[in-house]
Symmetry: D3
């Protein structure tokens, strides 16, 4: 089976740099795949792709050796299993607030006896190799999102879930849930305290801590703080910012 | 009929700032439409959208009052008429090398007796109003691309075509055709001389001169030189550059 | 944030006239959006659009100021949140039979602390404005369908759900569940009695009562009875009836 | 090969009633196919479907025995041949103004030695039967549009084209080209005179005369005048009119 | 209502031969529909089609009288009801492990009072006839997948579920769950014993036993063993095997 | 620039084995790409893919190192250039009957001064590398179809076209044009004589001779005869044959 390069990278104690895909387009996915991120995450929750487009995006990403991840829209087995069958090498599950929810998520990603994933890796065998089924439980990443006060309270219990590979923090939702005044404000000490609590839990249970950083600056600071999967860039935001900057600069220069 | 805001803007002697859409996606079109360019051009020649996606992109752009333009893949009446029926308010036609080609292009854009456009503005009446047919010949822009040595030679003849509203320069193809060493090199005196020849022809025939500038810096210089429609930004290039910059910055900061 | 025009209309004590979209097409959505209904509802339950098409339809509707609503296929957070992120200004949830189901539905539509909606209004910020998150809980409508005997029994409890804005009656399912002989027969006294029970509950809890009327005649009678959101028209039915009428008339006239 | 039911109907001296499809949707095509028209015409010129959607629409129509026709966007072999390969049983070609253009059109529809259609009826063999190639030249209809002053002048010459089965009149374009004040005004004596000229040519050359009638009333009058293929209905127009009528009636009845 | 031909075939004590569709394409569905299987099953679990493509595939299959079935991705009412509304004449539900799950599945497929299916058979009425609602509970097939050790233990209880028409065995998942060394190995006595247990339960409760056979050889053996719905062929596997065989044969013959 | 592996293979005097893609699906393209053919040809003439699907198929093929070719629907610059910009590494052009047509085709594939291809290799630079423009004229294959009596007569003249890399024979159309009784009958001496004439012309002008063989048996015989690009397999035919064979075998074995 094609090995999961993120795992290898983490074994070398490096930090994975991930880009976030919300544009429902195989073309933009292919463009970004060629820029050299360690992984790309298809966001099927707040991004605009659905399964059919995600499948096309996974094909486009597979023209490179960038690791394809996906965030599922919710903790439900149907889409979890479909994305894995389509060749995603890791899933990020939103709103995992309890141990039971974490177990349901992980179970949906693992073949028996480790879980209850149904067999039928239709595209995964093309991408990964014909021995996919034998190795998928070991290579496919499961990342639970910690993004509510409840999840924060339960984080140690969640982190102890067998088969869970890491957590991924949604700082906007976590801040909303904690009642913080601004979204994803990494200067807020309450948010930072929450991050440290999560980092401790992941360290204790030997999980990979990941986080939605939003900018390169934040990604660097968060990697220094201990995160091993950081997302400095989202496609829609990059495009909007680039278009606005080009317009502003041009508008200033022409009458 | 909804007036063509580019015409109004030029009557005030201002320069229109245009963005170029090569991503086949209604979502990215809608995002850029909200940033405030004067017009957006759907590129059906070198861009990746086909007619069906272009239709969706025109709908997405129509959520704003940005003027929708399109570049057709070739000087052929089928796609020219279909894009106008879909609500494009102006067309850019590649590789117009002779007066006859210019007349064929303009004729396909104009209802009789000015041309041979077939009647059936299916979506255009929704976008423009039920009186579309009465005013379309006056409001819809026709821009012929001057991008070969042959076209340069014929530019005065082309510019005299009745019903032609402007020209649009493709500097990469023009440079290729002129045998210049680098693509779209605006420091090359031969290219600049060619641009001036074209500017003279458009001034003489009271046409709008437009050009693919590629960057804000070039757009500003070219507007100063006399161009009234400049394109400083292309979606794919913006996205790729943004993704690369975020990655490079992050990579430098994390181990 | 762009205000929800339905709310304004109800504050003036007027009745909203809604059309129902079951054709999976951004084009037909755009056509109907231009006819002037107060709102359009994308039906993702019995209609044929899925999320990707719904997104395109929301873009098409946004070329007008008609309020975009959607009926979700089921009371599940994934699609509820995705449609809100895509810019729907109100959701109709089928088969809400208990207070707990009503709370689950409303919670999925509201950001913390009012609910558990996850943050990421990707398209909604384009449509509504950058201050969307601050006002969405107040502007986005939540309408629970009362369409079973169980729901009818629980209607007062359901109507008391905090954050619920209104109910929407599915008369066909309600009749099926009550064992009535004909579907959506508004002359059946048992159905009318059920409607009155629901109207009382909505009046008591200050909710908007809405109903699937099916025809203009029924919509008028139901508005007189007290409903404030009525649906006299469904796209597929309009098209089928129009095509049949034109054929019948022509067939009679030609040999 | 599945016989062309239009031919049979004309042999019985009946008039075919045709509906016009401009909505790019297999669903609306299937709905209308079930209402019982003799034929449906996919409009790839002013309608919004492109080839991919047309293919899906042809599949949807094939769930009934309604005859599938298509209008091509222009007199070009690529799309002509592709639509025939996809199973269209007849084509309407716009803007056929000369004998040479008529011959080019017919030739693209006929296998050698009658024409230059390339062999490869990929879907047509499923729809029509494995003996398609042997009979296609006889069963597939070729209808040239007469819709300009030039075509009117050349109509006798055009009608004499070997292999041409009929003509189809576009009254809006014909009126535009003749300089008539209103579009498709069947009370205008100049338009009626033109129609009679065309009817004479088709009678002389034993061709089927067809026409875009627009309404059942006009279809009946035109059938009486001699047309054997009449189009009283267009999907977008039916939908728009139906939606407007339902809204107007409801608006009048509710406050 | 169009009768369900599978039911008729079973009444004659014949075995239905089913093909499995995992390619997300209306074209391949139409091709296979024309080859003459008794039924085709759209696999929305491990196959690559989503709802929108499934709808197009159902239309394509409806060009023949082959019975359209679908496997839903999970035991969830949203997709179950949508596929039935789209015209599926039977559903296969994965991972039905308990009587309660079987009841939830069957209930979602049946109108009240037999179940809780919501009324709105948008496409089904076109395919099946306007009396669909009156007969759907009797004609639409419900097949629960028995594919875990837990389901095997509960099979008698599951088989007794009112309204359940049959079971369908997923031998790969069943083998995984039983800890068998090879996937879908029909020579394994433990697997065969499990099949016999299931056959006994279906015989006792007068249900149709179905199974994923994978090859014609296995289909024949399993039909002899007692199965009445066998699947010898999957589209992707057929295509891959055919392409490999043609390549291998050619490669051997050319230098 | 990524080298064209077909060229390398021919330099070693080997024969390329090509598969033909008529199914409009990125999934089936990816499946076949993984089986190991030397090249795959997307058929946009008689196949069912249009440009948008072809783009997705090119992405899917690019997950392997199989060489992507395409057959254009007709000898027209728009689609020729768009497919090259999308990353096709060679084009097959139907119905090239004269030297002028061959020159028009080749010119559309070559940048100035060798031709008139317009610059804008949007996706090609991702697939091939940023130096694509400098090497494309040398790496991109141009194959003219010889498939009419006229082309056969002109074959020496066509083969002498500067920049032409090879010819590709369509035996069905060639047979039709020559008036042969059966399609693609490689036992017909007239057809074989025509093939030899073409082989002589390609040998004389140092072109690659290619042919649509249809079966492995024919591919082997034709390779022995001298063809260097043979197509033994078409996806739709493989799928249909595989489905029919599995059904027939199963039907024989079950009652």
């Amino acid at each position: 089976m094609r090995p999961n390069r993120l795992k290898h990278l983490w074994q070398e104690n490096r930090t994975a740099i991930n880009a976030w895909l919300t544009i429902p387009s195989a073309w933009t996915a292919e463009v970004i795949a060629h820029t050299g991120y360690d992984s790309l995450t298809l966001d099927l929750q707040h991004g605009l792709a659905d399964y059919a487009t995600a499948l096309a995006m996974l094909q486009a990403i597979s023209t490179t050796d960038v690791v394809p991840l996906a965030r599922v829209p919710w903790n439900e087995p149907a889409m979890i299993m479909r994305l894995l069958d389509a060749g995603a090498y890791g899933l990020i599950c939103p709103m995992v607030n309890t141990r039971a929810e974490a177990e349901a998520f992980v179970g949906a990603c693992r073949y028996a006896p480790a879980g209850y994933r149904s067999y039928g890796p239709t595209r995964a065998v093309l991408y990964a190799g014909d021995d996919y089924a034998a190795h998928a439980n070991a290579e496919v990443l499961t990342l639970a999102m910690i993004e509510t006060a409840q999840a924060l309270k339960n984080v140690d219990d969640i982190a102890a879930t067998p088969g869970l590979d890491g957590v991924y923090i949604g700082p906007a939702d976590l801040g909303l849930s904690l009642g913080l005044p601004k979204l994803a404000d990494f200067t807020n000490p309450n948010l930072l305290r929450a991050l440290d609590t999560i980092l401790e839990a992941t360290a204790k249970h030997n999980l990979i801590p990941g986080i939605h950083a939003g900018t390169p600056e934040n990604a660097i600071l968060l990697a220094e703080r201990g995160f091993r999967l950081v997302t400095p860039a989202t496609d829609t935001a990059l495009l909007r910012a680039g278009a606005e900057a080009a317009l502003t600069q041009t508008r200033r220069g022409v009458k």
